[in-house]
């Protein structure tokens, strides 16, 4: 209530209110409490009816015109249904499927209706994988909203890469990382100088975070500061430095590792001669070799794996020159793991492809539990088309073992929707698994992935599969897994049809 309103009513209204608050026993009024209540009704009602519009509220700036075509109405309704927070039964797998369907909707090149953007922006805040599609499907309106709310600012760019004009060492660490990244892009040398000035006074966390920006414009001139960081008292800083140094193939670090590795692994005509390190000295430890082997691994074999993992792959030439040679059985596994880790760590897709194949062909009895993690790391380095090709090959070769050995991760990384050969392999693999009597839970991982990734046209092939299964055993519990899969595919079929309407 504004003061103007008050003055219109005169002191009477405030008197009525204060008398009522204090009580007529202590502040008697003419006519007693009844008359006071009557006055309250009359005065209060007059205030209520006479309420005025507020003035001088600032108009917001309008959102820019859109360029992306709006989604057809039916598609918008479907998206609203996908976003509705009311759950039938909150199975985690269901939520995951829903999220992927939202992602597929957003990736279709149509614009989401404005009223759904707040919910989508909240969702994108929790689920990073939605962000690229959301940035497109949200259009100008989403960016316009993101500016207005801190929680949604991520849409404007993952990090705020603006240079700080004054006092860069005083800003919060997120801004400082952004600043240093921007300077690295413009002038790596200047950025290095800037970090050097404050290096000794930074906390360990900040040293690690700031040093990470050196992957931008990394070159041999950065070697000095990285070598210095190898002697850092804190491990997290040393790890950053090691990763960066391993990416510099002609650095002193790379040379040191190459010398060590060549001392252990020598190509001798048609065979490879392997002699693991006899000890792990201080200089090896400084260069990142962990001295203590994990349980179940031989000490010297471990050192060899560690050395190989940190040696530039260029040391060996092309993969075949090393791997096609005869290698002592005792060392095959160690070499594969060491080189595999090197391929994953150095983002080397050529080596990664070879190592994936070698690791796959290894008999499962000689596998270590963490081989699965190594494989998953290698999948991420594979180029996209190779991923689909390898996944199809794996599913064709041995579907039973593929699901047991975590082919799901590889399938997750494959492009969506799956290319035809992979889609066919997946449908065939389902058939093989079902005929082979695989349990419902073993099917579940594959069907959950296939639902959101198979091309929608595969639904016909699945119909045949379902019919044979239902014909044999109508009460087969695995029917529901296949049914769920076809349901999701049908849903996507309708969704895509709606999204492509004019």
């Amino acid at each position: 209530m504004s003061s103007e309103d008050r003055s219109l009513q005169g002191p009477q209204w405030t008197d009525v209110v204060s008398a009522a608050l204090v009580g007529t026993d202590r502040r008697p009024v003419p006519g007693g409490p009844g008359a006071l209540l009557d006055a309250a009704a009359a005065q209060g009602l007059r205030m209520r009816a006479g309420v005025r519009a507020e003035a001088g509220v600032a108009l917001p700036e309008a959102a820019p015109e859109e360029t992306v075509p709006a989604a057809p109405r039916a598609a918008a309704v479907r998206l609203a249904g996908l976003l509705d927070p009311v759950r039938v039964a909150g199975a985690a797998r269901n939520a995951e499927t829903r999220l992927e369907l939202v992602d597929e909707w957003l990736g279709a090149g149509r614009r989401a209706p404005g009223e759904l953007l707040p919910e989508l922006l909240d969702l994108g805040r929790r689920h990073r994988q939605l962000r690229p599609a959301l940035a497109k499907a949200g259009g100008e309106r989403a960016r316009w909203l993101a500016v207005q709310r801190d929680e949604w600012r991520y849409l404007l760019g993952e990090t705020d890469e603006r240079e700080i004009v004054k006092g860069w060492d005083l800003a919060p660490i997120g801004r400082r990382v952004g600043h240093l990244s921007a300077v690295r892009r413009r002038d790596p040398h200047l950025a290095r100088m800037q970090l050097t000035t404050t290096w000794d006074s930074e906390t360990a966390e900040d040293r690690a975070a700031l040093l990470k920006t050196f992957h931008i414009g990394l070159s041999r001139v950065d070697e000095d500061i990285l070598e210095r960081a190898l002697d850092d008292p804190r491990r997290e800083v040393r790890v950053v430095a090691l990763d960066l140094l391993a990416r510099l193939p002609d650095s002193a670090y790379a040379l040191r590792m190459a010398v060590r590795a060549r001392g252990c692994v020598r190509v001798d005509g048609a065979r490879v001669d392997v002699r693991p390190p006899a000890q792990c000295d201080r200089s090896m430890q400084r260069d990142g070799v962990t001295a203590r082997a994990p349980a179940g691994t031989g000490q010297r074999a471990w050192w060899l794996e560690e050395v190989l993992a940190r040696t530039p792959l260029g040391t060996w030439g092309r993969p075949e020159t090393l791997l096609d040679k005869a290698i002592d059985d005792e060392w095959t596994g160690v070499l594969r793991r060491g080189l595999g880790r090197a391929a994953a760590g150095q983002d080397n897709s050529e080596w990664a492809a070879v190592m994936v194949d070698r690791l796959w062909s290894e008999p499962s009895t000689s596998q270590r539990p963490d081989d699965r993690l190594l494989l998953e790391a290698l999948y991420e380095v594979l180029p996209v088309d190779l991923r689909a090709e390898r996944a199809a090959a794996v599913l064709r070769r041995d579907p039973g073992r593929a699901t047991a050995a975590g082919v799901e991760r590889l399938l997750e990384l494959c492009p969506r929707p799956w290319p035809r050969p992979l889609a066919e392999a997946a449908v065939d693999a389902l058939g093989v698994l079902i005929r082979g009597g695989a349990s419902a839970w073993r099917l579940a991982g594959l069907t959950a992935l296939a639902g959101t990734r198979l091309p929608v046209s595969t639904v016909d092939g699945l119909g045949a599969l379902r019919d044979t299964l239902a014909g044999h055993r109508p009460d087969d519990p695995r029917l529901s897994a296949v049914d769920h899969l076809t349901d999701v595919l049908r849903f996507r079929y309708r969704m895509n049809e709606e999204l492509t309407r004019d």
Binding site: M1, W13, V16, V17, A20, L21, V22, G23, D25, G32, P33, G34, L36, D38, A39, A40, A41, Q43, G44, L45, M47, R48, A49, G50, V51, R52, A53, E54, A55, V57, A58, L59, P60, A62, A63, A70, R73, A74, V77, R78, G81, L82, D84, P85, V86, R87, V88, P113, G114, E115, L116, L117, E119, R141, W144, L145, Q148, R490, F491, Y493
Partner: protein
Amino acid sequence: MPRWSPEQVLALAPDASAGRAAQSLAGDSGWSDEGWDEADAVWGRCRGRGTYQIVVDLSGPAFRCTCPSRKVPCKHAVGLLLRWSDARVKPDLPPQWADAWMAARAARAARRSTAAPRTVNPKTVAKRAEQVEAGLAELDRWLTDQVRAGVAGLATAGYEPFDLQAARLVDAKAPGAAAMVRRLAAAAVSGVPERLVTELGLLRLLVRGFLRRAELPAELAATVAARVGIQVRTEDVLATAPVADTWAVLGVRDEIDEQLSTRRAWLRGNATGRPALVMSFAGPGQPLVGDFVPGTAFPGELCFYPGAAPLRALVKTRGEQTGGKPEGVGIQQALDEWATALAGDPWTDRWPVLLDGVVPTRTHLIDAAGDALPLLGEPWDLVAAAGGRPCRVFGEYGLSGVRVLTAWVEGRVVVL
């Protein structure tokens, strides 16, 4: 009947899960024997765990499905309507099972319209009035006691004194007054003493109005009786002179409560400009049947409950659904309408406002003249839909601001 849009169909779904289930059902597999006809019936069979027969009477709308679901309408009925709205159901002659149900419905409707009106025993009415009068007299004593002792203490007294007093009024057959006493509790803790004092005064006004109802003009007496909670029988309302118009559905709002769920459908006559509120209720666990889809309109007759600022109404006749293009007003005029409503019914606590050319911000609606009304909460969905551009909105205006239920943006109707 013109086809409904998918939004209109989904608005019928009793909850979101049924809506989503219907969307996945609406694919081509599993459906057979579908069709629709002139009599506004849509029917079909759907294969799920069993094969179910579904019939929908669009004019109601009313639903029948042989599935065991207790939701009305169930996912099969909504799925069938989605297919119909998508032109995948072709006109046909109804099969026997669909025809039989439609015929039974028609027969029931005919019976209802010819049924003899119930009579009311005047003695019962008089006895009840006495009971209410006694209850209100006690309320009056409670009110004056509060003011004598000072109402400052009520702000920290919690809900108990209000609940106690409200319960007594319910016993005295004055549930409307009881609800107003409960509303006092909200005013007491609001931190705005003016509001509490006004509400106390308005309660006293209600008591005095009821005790003197014989001297009041008939409409005002009816308003007082309605606010006290004396119900008017449906047949008496339907017996009043109907108002014919094309009624635009402006907004629908549900209040789900443990005891009773309420759906308010706000209408406005295109020619008369009259606002109307049609309420429907459902007991615990029962779904509210969605009759009204914002953005549509229907020609028909409404009968208003008697009162000095008539708002609540019943639908007497209802024609085929059409599109609706209601005209709104500016903020200044909306506030004038609010003041007029209060002049008729001082106990009004919300009033429908249809505003044209307002820009929604996080906190306000701003019209072309620069006038602004506060919004309840932070309605980001509304802000995002409008994008800082003027649009038409419909909402409930109350003591704390506007709650927007529907917005018209870029040629679309957005239900918030």
